[in-house]
Symmetry: C2
Subunit: 348 residues, 2 copies
Amino acid sequence: MATMKEIAALSDVSVATVSHVLSGKKNVSEDARSRVLQAIELTNYKLNTIAKSLRINKTHIIGVLVEDIQGLPVPELVDGIYQRLEQTGYQVLLSNLRLLKKLYNQYEQLRQYPGIVNQGLQLLEDARVDGIIYVAMHDRRIEGIQLPVNIPLVFAYADSSDPGSFSVTYQNESSAYAMTRLLIEQGHRQIALIVGHASTPAANQRLTGFRQAMDEAGLPVPSDYIRWGDWEYHSGLEEAEALLSLTVPPTAIFAMNDLMASGCYAAIRHRGLRIPEDISVVGFDNREIASCLFPGLTTVALPSREIGSTAAQQLLLRLEGQPVDTPMISLPCRIIQRDSTMPLPARR
Amino acid sequence: MATMKEIAALSDVSVATVSHVLSGKKNVSEDARSRVLQAIELTNYKLNTIAKSLRINKTHIIGVLVEDIQGLPVPELVDGIYQRLEQTGYQVLLSNLRLLKKLYNQYEQLRQYPGIVNQGLQLLEDARVDGIIYVAMHDRRIEGIQLPVNIPLVFAYADSSDPGSFSVTYQNESSAYAMTRLLIEQGHRQIALIVGHASTPAANQRLTGFRQAMDEAGLPVPSDYIRWGDWEYHSGLEEAEALLSLTVPPTAIFAMNDLMASGCYAAIRHRGLRIPEDISVVGFDNREIASCLFPGLTTVALPSREIGSTAAQQLLLRLEGQPVDTPMISLPCRIIQRDSTMPLPARR
DNA sequence: CTTTTGAATTTAAACGATTAACTTTTGTAA
DNA sequence: TTACAAAAGTTAATCGTTTAAATTCAAAAG
């Protein structure tokens, strides 16, 4: 592999001049420049980025820390990061913690989580990345994570616990609000909610949005209608069964994720009822399952790609030393209307 | 950030000794070692990997080139790479070409593909990665790709065109054979096949496997029963309709991917027929849709994770200069039995 | 014909490690 | 005591750049 020294020798200038030609930051005579360029062409010379990094103390590499690359929103989110980084000259060092494989149960998860994350952060720090995007999906406040002090970091997807930090998340509350409004506008008055795991912020935020919409519309929310699930298929099935057994069953069920919604489908079918003619169902997340189900599930699509590109944008601004006007950004979700709901009057 | 020089000064030895302590390749007195370790502890010193890389001409970074991180098998495959790389000290620089977003039609795809790939390879080469895993999903032979000459490269998922190269793929032919056997063993004699796009090697290999199983069983394959689709949902639907309109419709349909299989579901339902009582359907790929469909689709699961980990293994061997016994590996697939098939006698 | 000025170019010191070659120290045997 | 080998430690070159500072050079001004 050719080095700058050889280029310099070939084109009869000093290495400094070669460097000046390449960087374009200093004047070089047309004569010298063309000789240098010719030598570069001839030898197929490529600048050694490692040497450059050492000298300028910048790697032009961004570290992306993900809990699991197979986690639902991760590939799309990471793609959003690449989308923004294209043409900027930054590369991505991806640190995949593989949590889905490593942490079997909640207890282990809480105990081991900080250690694993710190290790991942340490690796990125050791690699001298210029900045870090931490794609955190856990939704409970975690103690004991040591963020690198010298490297700009942006949280993506989950909220950061630290108020001084930078983050890009999505709007749980307003999305649940909008989805609830949709059902109300279709004439539903008996709307039940299957909440996710009680301890998760996402569940609570979505619950708040739901309550707000119901309150605003003056609709009652009987405690029977608020069911606590755990995000899994089976809890959706069980809670839907409980709802259908009530003396006044709901006309619409809002499940807080698509998995639980598909559990609702099963429970409803099991009763011999039809979706949406007899009961409307909506979900949250827009997993592939939502479009596979029959009828197609109306649900909330998270702005995963936008979270990624916006987080990258935040980080780039900080790397350029520019002021960041909004350190904590929360992006809106989009409602995907399919065929699992129906205006209520139609069946009266 | 502390440097080796400072550690040397603090512990009253030379930088060489500090380096010796860290590398463990030379004898250092217990006395000196402990002083150095103490200084490292004190200053929170971290070896500068950039400087090390420059000196030893190795980055301990593996470049992974993917056509699109959102492509179906990619996240799992990449996770397999990480699985193997864990504890080896290698990091991953992921180059995501974003082809799904960039290439709209086949024509553009063929024309632009080599340029985009070459650019991605160039970026990895510039970053001085130690080795490259090229996750290629395209399944037609592509001309004009310039593989780096100095960097070990392993193809993953797709076959490489070059016979001298290293690759890890999966078995199309034997998997189609096994799936066909499964139907035959269930008593089916009229088995139809919906092939993928005619120009793709995967389609032809699967076709060969199908034919072999049928021939071996002495079953006829009327040309009416071989339908040429294009991997998309609609072609599955259309070809299934054509099959059901035949004077002797098949008792089982083997669609070459899950998307076309789900098209079959729609066509069969539209005729008022039941799956699997009236007709059996099987697919290929084991996408999420396969488990979402009702009844669950029996299909072929690709060994994506294993492809990734095996490719990483191949690369590690080459990086260590060890002999690679099998440069081109082809891994078996696994049949996932769900509820979309039924032994034929049951409905007689 | 100097002097000045500015552009073009070079020199040389970093950046932070590794490592071959050399020197010093220590321990052991004659 | 001396001689020698092995162990421990140091020196200094090197990896391939960047860049401040110094130098050279040519053209313009005095």
